[in-house]
Subunit: 453 residues, 2 copies
């Protein structure tokens, strides 16, 4: 299993979430010595985790990375629930199914965040060259020299350590990135959207079965806000309400809440249960959504950020985790290409990933508008059908944006460049048609001497 | 001179640069008690200041603010040098003059940064309710509670103080903003461009006269880089070279530098003087250019950022200082409207200024491309002439972007909305013309039975 390198590196991974744990597997497979430091305690020993989304949509990019460390089948085939289509719930309780990929029948998979994280930590721990440390808070780091100071959150003791390479996989509020941001010429942006999210739950039916169609990502698009639901292994759905903070704030009594839900999501109310909905809603508070872009992702040949630390995005394209997993895969390929020469691998990683991650961050932001609004519009449906037809006709040439993002590993910037090209063709085609029709009409009228030149 | 408010506020202004000093005058005029804290020593006592641009272009927005505190005439009429046009210098030593405002003959004014700052500090100091403190470094602040800790850079002693309102006018690397950025839901971005700048000098001729046309902003646009020159009171020009850092780095010998200048800026070399150019170039290093956007500009009813602290921009639209000065004017108007009620004034200021400042930051970024490249292109010149013609024809309807930004106080977002509308009209007009011509041709051919329907 282990591909020994000519010289093995001391790698410190900061963060034992999904991307950090997967990255540990990749480095271990290459024979490097990995120490993974996680701020929280070991989630495998914790009963309940709050404040993070419960399930996630896994697609091609994430799957490709999991395949590489031998975990794809376990997570996708054995555990994941395939979602073949969006199921649009109207305010009149109507249902409209929009297939993700009518041509190739590809699916995205609903997976449980906690299960996935546990599987990845177990996999990492199995490598003899990986050690996991929990309750270790990174206090400071000298990224150029690979030096770090950790605070042990149990003993309150500080300890210093060093590594050849520091990998920040410490999430949207990354400490490693915060240190990077202070460097000269560092580009950085953090954007909070004016909408928050709250997770609710539709439990399984009494017989343990799903209360709605199982193989769908359910969406209640309502223009200014929306609700979605993804299926879980146990027959329940994790439901997420996305709305402006002021909408959340205005629902300050059970009465207002239920009136709002009965009007906006009438078919969901009996499934959520009025009492349970009220209890869940008022025992939680809406959480913010942040989008992070930065450049570069590395410092010299000694530090790197990956995953949400490098490109946290709003969740509306379902690509946050997938992009993070793809980071691991691309980094691994670069280690291969440049024979673990960090002075080449790290700049090449920034080169390969910065622009692409900015593109997917922007797409995710844009898709919020599409999900909560455009899917209600005729023009969107017509365009979707046109795309599907052209994709069926020209499967290698006309890949719709959604398909290239979810079901291919085409770099994100090429996906959007393709889309721009498609838009141009359609626009020009339309102008051309109109001009021809107009000219033919003029020609006919003039030929019949109805108009004269 | 002093308009007494019903209750006067304790205002702490952080930063005694252009915007901080002007803001002190505005607050003093309203009868508030102002303490201004500047990190550096008093520039009025210093011989030479390095690292900041030497002259600046003052236009309508800045003038309007200076007028309000009675300084417009002194700075514009007595001191400023009017620049009526861009003077484009070709590689073949050709000169092309492009008037800024052929219709109304408006000018922008070249003013000396240091002189301007001294005038503003003197003006602020004249108010009995203003006190200036120099060598005071803001170490930390509790923005909600108006508490601040300063380090005296002479005595190395720390002192604590408080105010009803903290105003951060502490520039692109603002400490006040850095503290704001850590607050929840704070949006922030810092972008460095890949180009740096270096200031050089064309001295006055032996007779004290200007070596080039005086009333111009001189531009040597060269695609990937450019050089500009603004006139100074003493007959000299401050010349600024903008180029990719790698271009600066490649000019690492006197030979290479002179070859480069002789090829790219042949008419400027004798004016710069080969020896002086070489000396200036190698005793300086290129400085970075940063663009800062953030939102909001205030914290509750106790803190605010203005000027570069709130919206540092690249210098290519000549609006950095003007926008900062306009901040002071708009804030003053809001104090009037909301009768100094900080809980209303501060949110209203963010509302009025955030979007507008993002627009001008983006315009400034875009204008770098225009200045160094597009002005060389035929399409740009044609569009400029079309704009001028339509502006002359419809002076109230068709205000070109450059004119509305420089010579009006139309909010920036309306300037760009206008521009988008103009682009749409031109595009549609062009399509319409082409379609009509095509149809007429078809009609003629068909009427003559050359083609048949």
């Amino acid at each position: 299993m282990t591909t020994a390198e000519s010289s093995s590196l001391k790698v410190a991974i900061i963060g034992g979430g999904l991307v950090g744990a997967l990255e540990a597997c990749f480095f271990a497979k290459r024979g490097h010595n990995v120490r993974l430091y996680e701020y929280r305690e070991d989630i495998r020993l914790v009963e309940e985790i709050r404040g993070r989304s419960i399930n996630l949509a896994l697609s091609a990019r994430g799957r490709a990375a999991l395949r590489e460390v031998g975990l794809e089948d376990l997570l996708v085939k054995d555990h994941g629930i395939p979602m073949r289509a969006r199921m649009i719930h109207g305010k009149d309780c109507s249902l409209t199914e929009i297939l993700y990929d009518p041509v190739n029948k590809n699916c995205i998979y609903s997976v449980n965040r906690r299960y996935l994280n546990e599987v990845l930590l177990n996999a990492a721990e199995k490598y003899p060259n990986v050690r996991l440390y929990f309750n270790k808070k990174l206090v400071s780091a000298d990224l150029e020299r690979g030096k770090m100071t950790f605070l042990d959150r149990k003993t309150s003791e500080e300890e210093e350590t060093s590594a050849d390479l520091i990998v920040g996989a410490d999430g949207a509020f990354s400490t490693v990135r915060r240190i990077m941001t202070k460097r000269p010429l560092y580009n950085f942006s953090q954007t909070y959207i004016e909408h928050g999210y709250m997770e609710l739950c539709i439990p399984a039916k009494d017989d343990g079965k799903f209360a709605m169609a199982k193989n769908n990502l359910h969406i209640w698009p309502r223009g200014e806000f929306m609700m979605i639901a993804l299926p879980n292994q146990d027959g329940s759905y994790t439901v997420t309400l996305f709305a402006p903070f002021e909408t959340f704030n205005s629902l300050n009594t059970a009465r207002k809440l239920l009136d709002f839900f009965r009007e906006q999501f009438p078919d969901a109310v009996p499934l959520l249960g009025e009492d349970k909905l009220t209890e869940d809603f008022f025992s939680n508070k809406p959480l913010p959504l942040i989008s992070i872009k930065c450049r570069p992702f590395h410092v010299q040949s000694s530090a790197l950020i990956i995953g949400d630390a490098a490109h946290a995005m709003v969740p509306f394209y379902g690509q946050g985790m997938n992009t993070g997993f793809e980071d691991c895969l691309i980094l691994d390929r670069l280690f291969e290409t440049h024979r673990s020469d960090l002075s080449k691998v790290l700049p090449a990683f920034s080169e390969a990933r910065c622009t692409d991650s900015h593109v997917i961050c922007d797409l995710a932001m844009y898709n919020y508008i599409e999900m909560r609004d455009l899917v209600n519009k005729k023009s969107f449906i017509v365009r979707k059908h046109l795309d599907t037809f052209l994709y069926w006709l020209l499967p290698n040439t006309w890949v719709p944006l959604y398909n290239s993002v979810h079901f291919s590993r085409i770099p994100f910037h090429k996906c959007t460049a393709n889309r721009s090209w498609q838009e141009k063709i359609i626009r020009r085609g339309a102008y051309f048609l109109i001009t021809i029709i107009f000219a033919v009409l003029v020609g006919i009228l003039s030929g019949q001497r109805i108009i004269k030149f």
